[in-house]
Symmetry: C2
Subunit: 221 residues, 2 copies
């Protein structure tokens, strides 16, 4: 199924790779590197140069034959595509270990998203400090959203509460749910959902370990 | 660059999708669903049926024309490919919020990986309880690894300590590093590394929100 609401016909796979380009380009930019060829960028990122050219051509391309990519322009252009300049605001719902990890890490600020508050329903947790935030009670969530209109909610509640809370957030006008509950959620189609499945990455790691342990029995295609 | 150590010529993109198949098949299996067509599975997973057929054909395929996939067989086969039956053991290095979130969540046990211990260097944290674990001191890590030979280390130390700690883990015989430090790590090639970049998912979410906000100006290709 394709999302009829998006205007750009870029595949989700390409979009999912853009943040990684953004990270590498930020690093190059911070090292005052002005330009880079698709071949050099490919070696750095451990992908093929043709993959890079294909991905970036989706957006009209930013390179010149024989010159390579202008690092600053490409970095800024990918940031624009990703909506980095939009200054979205976010809240965290659930102040358990995962919610606290998100609140105290650099993930939001590093991506230009302004974290504004963290909520929990546990009376023992409400009012405690998490980094620079004081945990707010869940029963203030509706008033808060109506007043401050945050764009994004990181959902870090226990799994059993995930659907109910996601629906509540959708009704409160949240535009994007970053879902850490482990439950695959889909809500109203006006709300974007990014389901995080940490265990999938653990399984990929197990696969790689397993594959390296195998005797190298087949070398032919 | 291709990894010369792996024996299977399956692309990383396909491997990265297998855990998601595994999750959906586990759910179907738990609901006593015996078989499913590629079309039904595609609708459920919100991908195309041809993607599913292509992905599963990489492993010789598990379906029969007109019958669909045998859920139990496919679930077990993907688990075998991913090394689920290998009963790997893991440790967590770093008992901050992220380390604690990993220790108290269901991610390890849900993927058949046995979490054995959690380490930290902070005297205030050493000896505290995290779920069913007592935080062990970092200066016992070497002895612990020599004695218990854990396969996987989840790395959740501060970013500045990431490279040094990853090299130490590599020397101690760890086979896979699940890296939550935000730093893109590569160590000795005998060690598999899965770099987790939560911020990449946040940026993808921002892109989706941003794309939905655009007026639907272009409907042609």
């Amino acid at each position: 199924m394709q999302n009829k609401n998006t205007t750009t016909p870029v595949s989700k796979a390409v979009i999912a790779r853009l943040p990684r380009y953004y990270r590498y380009l930020r690093e190059l930019f911070s090292q005052d590197i002005l330009r880079i060829s698709s071949g050099e960028l490919a070696r750095l990122m451990n992908v093929t140069a043709s993959q890079i050219r294909q991905d970036l051509n989706c957006f009209g391309g930013f390179g010149q034959q024989g010159y390579g990519y202008n690092v600053k322009n490409l970095y800024k252009a990918i940031g624009d595509i990703l909506g980095v300049g939009e200054s979205y605001t976010a809240i965290i719902v659930g102040a358990g270990n995962m919610g606290r990890a998100l609140a105290t890490g650099t993930t939001f600020v590093g991506r230009g998203v302004h974290l504004k508050g963290i909520f929990d329903s546990d009376p023992d947790v409400i009012g405690t400090e998490v980094g620079e935030y004081t945990v707010l009670p869940m029963d203030k969530l509706a008033d808060y959203c109506r007043e401050w209109k945050p764009t994004i909610a990181a959902l870090a509640v226990p799994r059993g509460a995930s659907r109910r809370t996601a629906e509540q957030l959708s009704l409160l006008g949240i535009k994007g749910i970053w879902n850490f509950t482990g439950e695959e959620l889909s809500v109203d189609e006006s709300v974007s959902v990014e389901n995080v499945h940490l265990g999938d990455l653990l399984m990929t790691l197990c696969y790689e370990i397993h594959a390296k342990e195998q005797p190298d029995e087949e070398t032919e295609d």
